[in-house]
Symmetry: C2
Subunit: 226 residues, 2 copies
């Protein structure tokens, strides 16, 4: 089975241009000594300015992707080349993680790497593509990888154990699991329509990093990875 995990509509973006004249943003950029195109949008620092953004409740949480990236990229499943991993962002961009990628574990270095990626479009080392970002959207990504089954995980889905979800994945040629990468709310209507099935794996909402860690672990178990 080809297994793909997608962190979808993730709260990961540079500070948008429309906030450039906000007082709080100007003083933040001065304090950290970087232009706004060199900073990730982060609710911890930009809360007040963010109230002007549409769907601001879904944005400005780069720590969510950070946790999921580390728990995914350093898992045996990814390290052994048995899964593909993508981050789809709130702005419908798609980040691809190359097989040899080993992102920094320290938060400020992760932030620097993501800023670099958004600005340059790719991170290449020794001729190998480690990270790339494209404007293809979730639709373009699914058209490219063509999974036989696309499963969304959401508190609104049909109750199921993670083990059962992994078993359903293992029974198909190619499955993609889609996890929400935002702090509040649900998948957008447009994204929901791209899912073949939606399951809920817990009776209360779980952090995305817990969801991804549990899914990867159960897929490893179903494939006999040790």
């Amino acid at each position: 089975m080809a297994f793909t995990m997608i962190l979808a509509e993730s709260s990961l973006e540079l500070i948008p241009e429309e906030l450039a004249s906000e007082k709080g943003i100007i003083s933040y950029c001065r304090r950290v000594g970087r232009p706004i195109s060199g900073c990730l949008l982060d609710r911890s620092y930009h809360h007040q300015a963010m109230s002007k953004l549409p769907q601001s409740y879904k944005r400005g949480r780069p720590d969510i992707a950070y946790h999921v990236i580390l728990d995914t990229v350093y898992s045996p499943l990814f390290m052994d080349g048995l899964m593909n991993f993508y981050i789809h962002t709130f702005q419908d961009k798609v980040i691809e993680f190359g097989p040899g990628v080993r992102p920094p574990r320290e938060y400020s270095r992760y932030e620097g790497l993501m800023v670099d990626l958004f600005r340059k479009g790719s991170i290449i080392e020794d001729g190998k593509m480690l990270l790339s970002i494209r404007n293809c959207g979730m639709k373009g990504l699914l058209n490219k990888i063509k999974p036989a089954l696309v499963i969304g995980l959401s508190i609104l889905g049909e109750p199921s154990s993670v083990e059962n979800v992994a078993r359903i994945c293992a029974a198909t040629d190619s499955a993609a699991i889609v996890i929400g990468g935002f702090p509040h709310g649900h998948f957008s209507q447009g994204l929901q329509e791209m899912l073949d099935r939606t399951f809920s794996i817990a009776s209360k909402g779980l952090d995305a990093s817990l969801v991804s860690a549990r899914v990867i672990y159960e897929v490893e178990r179903s494939l006999g990875v040790t």
Copy 2:
């Protein structure tokens, strides 16, 4: 069953006094505008100065505890009051997590909280103890909680699935699982002697956050928590 998880010999400490005169430390503290007693030791910034510290390879990685804390404290097992969680540090201090604790998910706020804890000894909110730190050592902690079985997880242990480890825990009145909270090396000899059994749950070393997430998930499964 009473279940306890301990992140042991964790790379979590304030910058030690013995580095106060190091050039790199002085310039770092000036740059962030805090005294050395207000900063966590972090290899990302203090690498050169750290070479003077004993066992420096096991120190200066506060991000390890950060990941484990978030993946633990926001798990259903902890949120439902079905586990106790402690962080034991390289300096043999013990941090206890109160049942209502909800630490910040953003890294710099986590750092601020830990600095506060090291300086004040406890974090109390509305009369409730959220976090406390004591100099009781691992020995004092085990004397206090008196687990019937203490299991260490280490690449040097007897190979076992996580499921099996959780099953062994569930079969005792009170079990404690001990996970290494350091980037390299193994449990110290002294700590190793406090373990009743040691298991290895993967063929290669796993990040502590992956280990804790997998253990908690399997303990939840063995207890039927959903």
